[in-house]
Every structure is written in structure tokens, then in C-alpha cells.
Symmetry: D2
Subunit: 154 residues, 4 copies
């Protein structure tokens, strides 16, 4: 079941999903992301972010942003959660929830979308929108025409 409604993705009209089962599971995932944001190392931005990744097997890996004095060395919370999972042998993901302590309604940066798409497009990205409601989009919606692993095969 799905219906079109006001969304936080600007001019591109996307279809939000109504799905009570996902809603309940994603709410728990977001709670894990909120908790993970407490570990954030962000002395330069003072902008703590947490992420929680749900694997196909039902396991949850959490991450936070880790900044660097040379800003380009910074790694976001989403990428932290994913490489933790991969380094423990998990590569199949269902959803990733993200929480910015200071700002709601923010979708991942392009670098993290790129990093996630290496492991699939059918992964839901979950956030709290500015109304405090849970909202999610598939990575495919967030990175249309993605450049992924298959793109390098000639």
C-alpha cells in the first residue's frame, strides 16, 4: 500500500510507503541511530550524527561520524556502520537509519549514498522528518542513475 504525499525531497515527487511492519522495525533502528550519535567524534563541526544498519539476517550495526583535522579525512556515520558490518562478514542490508542530533529531516550526503549503493539499491534509508515522523526512501530513489559495481563492467 502506498500513497503520494508531501515529502522532504523537494521538487522530485516521490511516493512514500505506508507499511506498519516496516514502521515498527525502522522505529527501533532509528532509536539505535540516536544512541549511536552519542559516540560521535566531531570537534570541528559540533554536529553529532549516528547511524544504525539492519542486515538481511536481522543484525544491527551502529556508527557515528568521525572527523579529522584535515576535513577531507572525515568519515560519516553511515559509512562507519557499513564498514563495521562488512568487516564482520555482513554484506546484505535491508535498511539504514540516520540521526542528526541538531537537525531532523536530513538525508545522507552523496558520498554515503555512493558507499551504500556498492551493496545494493533496494536498501531503505530512514530518517525523522521535520514533523518528527518517520520517513524512508530506497537508495534507488536517493541516487537515481547510480554509478555502481556493474558500471565498471565493459
Amino acid at each position: 500500500m502506498s500513497n503520494e504525499h508531501k515529502n522532504s525531497l523537494g521538487q522530485v515527487s516521490l511516493v512514500a510507503k505506508v507499511n506498519p511492519e516496516k514502521e515498527s522495525s525502522y522505529r527501533k533502528l532509528l532509536d539505535a541511530a540516536i544512541k549511536a550519535s552519542e559516540m560521535s567524534y566531531c570537534p570541528y563541526s559540533d554536529f553529532p550524527v549516528g547511524a544504525a544498519l539492519l542486515t538481511a539476517e536481522g543484525k544491527v550495526f551502529t556508527g557515528c561520524n568521525v572527523e579529522n583535522a584535515s576535513f577531507g579525512g572525515t568519515i560519516c556515520a553511515e559509512r562507519t556502520a557499513i564498514i563495521k558490518a562488512v568487516s564482520e562478514g555482513y554484506k546484505s542490508f535491508k535498511a539504514i537509519a540516520i540521526h542528526c542530533k541538531k537537525l531532523s529531516g536530513k538525508w545522507p550526503c552523496g558520498m554515503c549514498r555512493q558507499f551504500i549503493c556498492e551493496f545494493g539499491l533496494n536498501i531503505d534509508v530512514v530518517i525523522l522528518n521535520t514533523d518528527g515522523a518517520l520517513e524512508w526512501r530506497s537508495l534507488e530513489e536517493l541516487l537515481p542513475g547510480h554509478f555502481g559495481p556493474e558500471s565498471l563492467q565493459t
Copy 2:
């Protein structure tokens, strides 16, 4: 004037623009991207890419991918073109064309979309699709719900 048609962005239905003036300008921009790809330093991927960036003032900056033995150090053609422009005092952009010698129909990676969006969403990204035709999308279409400069303002 615009009409809906078959596109290379998968399931997300986008509207392609028909615009003879842009078509002519973007064709030249793509030619510059093709030429720029010859400078590519890509000993690890053997995947030369070129980019050409059109500023609001009508100036063109070109770039190529520059790889690194530590793969994470690699900088794509799109980012090369943009930082060249910024380092010469240009920060307002109209369009960026991209050319992969080995593959047509590829849109920029998420990292480059992120880098471009720092300087605006109303920038057209131009490629050759798999049919050999010119195709373009605004960055806003390629990075819906982007995380940009205004996102850090609380």
C-alpha cells in the same frame, strides 16, 4: 518545452528536456570532456574519464580522473574540473559534461554529485546515453533531498 521519454535513470521517472539552444552548447561541452579524458591518470582502473564545466560567465574548465595507489585518494574528473574553476575564482556554474571513454550512459558517482551540490542544484549534468544521444539532468534530479551548505545551519 519538455516531454517524457525513455531515460537512463532506471525506475525513477524523470522528465527530459528538449532545448535546441542547450543541445548545441552542451554538445560542445561534451566535446571538451572527451578531449579532457585523454589526460586521465588511471593506471589502476584503466578507465579514463573527462569532464568539462561551463561557468555562468561562459568559461569552460576541464578535468580528468587522477587515481592513487591508495584507491581512496582518487579524485574524479568532475571534481577536478570544479576545483580548477574555484581555484581560478569561478563559483557559479551552468553545466558539467562527463565522458567515460569505455562506457557511455554513466551518470556521476555520489561523491561528485555531493561536490557539485556545494555550488548549486540548478546545474545540468550532461552525458552521452547508450544510444549515443545527448542527455542531461539537473543536479537536483540526481541528488534528491541533497545534503548541502544550508543543511549545516541550525
Copy 3:
């Protein structure tokens, strides 16, 4: 106790440490790095790397390299181990061991040295040299005149 000897750092003459206690502890750390390299996701380089990080509290965090179709998105094993530790609340480190399955005697790339230095200079980097012997250097030796957190304070 220390003595000057042949080393793998080229023309810069450094002093290697002889320290049986560290030797035993670092050997175990290297074994953990070897095991961690099995989790490596490296379809583009086919160059699996593992890392194992020893915290001040004696806890070990492991990591592997995780590559991306857009090479610049790649995250090395060393950074993976560190952000895992930080995201679990550990920020004080004693040593990090690194293992490349295909090559011995390789010290970390500059990006990882930069990432490690955010958390201290008195961290030993441990590798197997080309003779199959354990060898280590402090980060301070590997990144002389580093650009760290204190560098941004005016």
C-alpha cells in the same frame, strides 16, 4: 633498549626497538590483522588488507579494506579498525597492526597515517617486513611534522 639496524623505511634512518614484551603482544595483534583480512571487500584491487587496533584498555578492534566502484570512496583497513573503536567509545590507542595478504613490508598509506594521528602520535604501527620479522614504528616517525588537531588552533 634499542639499536640501529637495517629497516624498510628507505633512506631515512630510524631506530628500531627491541622489546620482548611488545614483541609478544604485537605478534598476537598481527595475527588478528591476518584473520581480519579475510573479510576484505576488494573486488577492484584484489588486494586484501586487514588491521587490528589495540586500545589503551587492552581491547582489540579489527578492520579490513572496503572498496567502492568510485575508487575515491574506498576505506582502508586501518581506518575501518579505528572508526569501529571510536564508534564503540574507545579513543585511546596503543598500537595498530596491518597485514596485506599479497605483500609484506608495507606501511600504511598517508591517508591512514592522517586518520590515526587524530588520536595520537605515540601509537605503534606494526607490520611484517619482507624478511617475515615483526617491525614497528611510532606514528610520529611515520608522519613527521604531522598536521593534527592542535594544528587548527590559532
Copy 4:
């Protein structure tokens, strides 16, 4: 001609070079770096940096840091100068000068050392030290035991 003296690289004792010809050439290069820092796009750090790269052919390419709302997307001045040169067909470098408007005496971050080493170790890195004097080191001194292009050859 060379002599040992007080330097800004901490505990690692390095030998500074006295070389009037280089001194004069590097002073001009530093002036170009100072001028390049005016183009810096650094709304997040407010820390403008400029770089000037001298090619083997005697050509100078300048760069500045270009930051991103997602900090990890930031590209430093040194890398900007190098990819500009590569994208114009230059890959052989003699020296790179760096200038931080707010801080003197800072050597490049590890990411930039990594990026430079792809194109050689015998490249001088030039800065103004805290005494206002010109100081330089070869990249080999700044990245001992580097991980470079040859490191990937098994």
C-alpha cells in the same frame, strides 16, 4: 651543501638544505601559494590555504582548499594544484609550496602527502616556518616508508 639545525619536524632529526638557488626559486613559489590562498573556499573551517606546484618544465600551477558541507568531500590546496597540473598534461614535479593564512609552520596533511607521492618522492615541500623563514623537505622525508604505485606490484 647542508647542515643540521633546529627544525619544525619534532623529534625526527632531519637535515635542512642550504641552497641559494632553490631558496630564490622557492620564495617565488611561496608567493604564488600566498596569492592562491585568496581563492580558498572554506566556509566551514575559515582556514584558507594556498599551494603552488613547480613542474619539471618550470611551469607553475596553483591551488586552494575547497571544502564541502559533508566534510569528507573537502579537497586540500595541495591536491588541487596537482590535479590541475595532471589534467593539463604535467606529471613531473620539482616542488610544491604551501601557505596557510592563519598559521605558519604547517606541513601537509597525510592525505596530500599520499597524493603527491603518486608522482614521486624527490619533490620538495616548501613552507614558511614559525620564524618566517623558508623551509623545505623532500616528500621522502615527510612520508618515510611510503605506500606508492610500486607497492601494488606483486
